[in-house]
Symmetry: C2
Subunit: 178 residues, 2 copies
């Protein structure tokens, strides 16, 4: 059975939605995901870097991120054909450890916890595939990278791209036929 | 540069020393490491499984484990020749996340935090070598396993064994000549 490693933020968990919701309320703004095309979160607004720093220091921030549509059922179906591991760069945000762990237990109870990985540099992940929104991590990874579309990467060229979870499923079902 | 992944408990951090100290005080016993030869911690005494369960639920338990002798300076010297990653099965003990992170920052400040990995099953680690005391993890690992002697594994046969950190250094300096 081949192994797929899944990034969490912007692949399984909608970090951008939570960030925009909180930021817009706090600063009385109306930003949408369209304002983040080609940009990382700190580049959204001059207040964004400090706001982000504050949110990341809050140990509950990552606990209630919305689940990206169709991820739960596609992960469940792919689990019949692939080993599913989680690979999240949690070392960049140490206050998020417990929230990320509990979020996975709540929304993805079919993935056993010994298949969770909290890391920094994803070159350390031994898997056949990595689904991630971050080009830097995909480029470091030794296996096949699959770019999951997020506003910040939507203008980038990357050899394998999926735009949503139904495309994730299609890609991996096609891979089985090779 | 080749990459070495290092287990924490019983390789860098003396979990057994802390456990025995606390257990002996609590139950008025005088166990030593010799009593753990060939045994996992829960097998020490009929009170041990419940005590261990309680200690592992304490988020401070892993924060002040003694550092295994010579590990700090040998890691520093090996860093000149190898990439050093941490690979700890923290997913088995989620309350330990913050304590393990802070312990590494305190005692091994030369290892960048993006090179820490909190995982469960170490087959997910992409590295050339894994130094670990647990045969199961060494056997799952895809690279070269190096067994670090601990009481529980001291009677096991394993192709590459090191008994202390000076032997770790010797082994890896010899590997450079190959």
């Amino acid at each position: 059975m081949k192994r797929i490693a899944l990034d969490m933020d912007q692949v399984m968990a909608d970090l951008v939605a939570k960030f925009l919701n909180r930021f817009n309320k706090e600063f009385d703004k109306n930003y949408t995901k369209a304002d983040l095309i080609g940009k990382r979160l700190p580049e959204l607004d001059e207040e964004a870097p400090q706001a982000l720093y504050n949110y990341y220091g809050d140990p509950t921030f990552f606990r209630d991120l919305p689940v990206i549509p169709h991820s739960v059922e596609v992960v469940e179906r792919l689990s019949e054909h692939y080993e599913i591991y989680i690979a999240t760069a949690a070392m960049e945000v140490p206050p998020s450890f417990t929230a990320k762990f509990e979020w996975l237990q709540q929304f993805f109870p079919t993935i056993p916890q010994h298949q969770y990985v909290f890391c920094g540099d994803k070159s350390v992940i031994q898997a056949d595939y990595l689904v991630d929104d971050t080009a830097l991590q995909l480029n470091r990874f030794k296996g096949t990278g699959v770019m999951f579309t997020a506003p910040h990467n939507s203008n980038m060229d990357y050899p394998i791209r999926v735009n949503d979870w139904l495309e994730v499923e299609q890609f991996f079902m096609d891979e089985l036929k090779k």
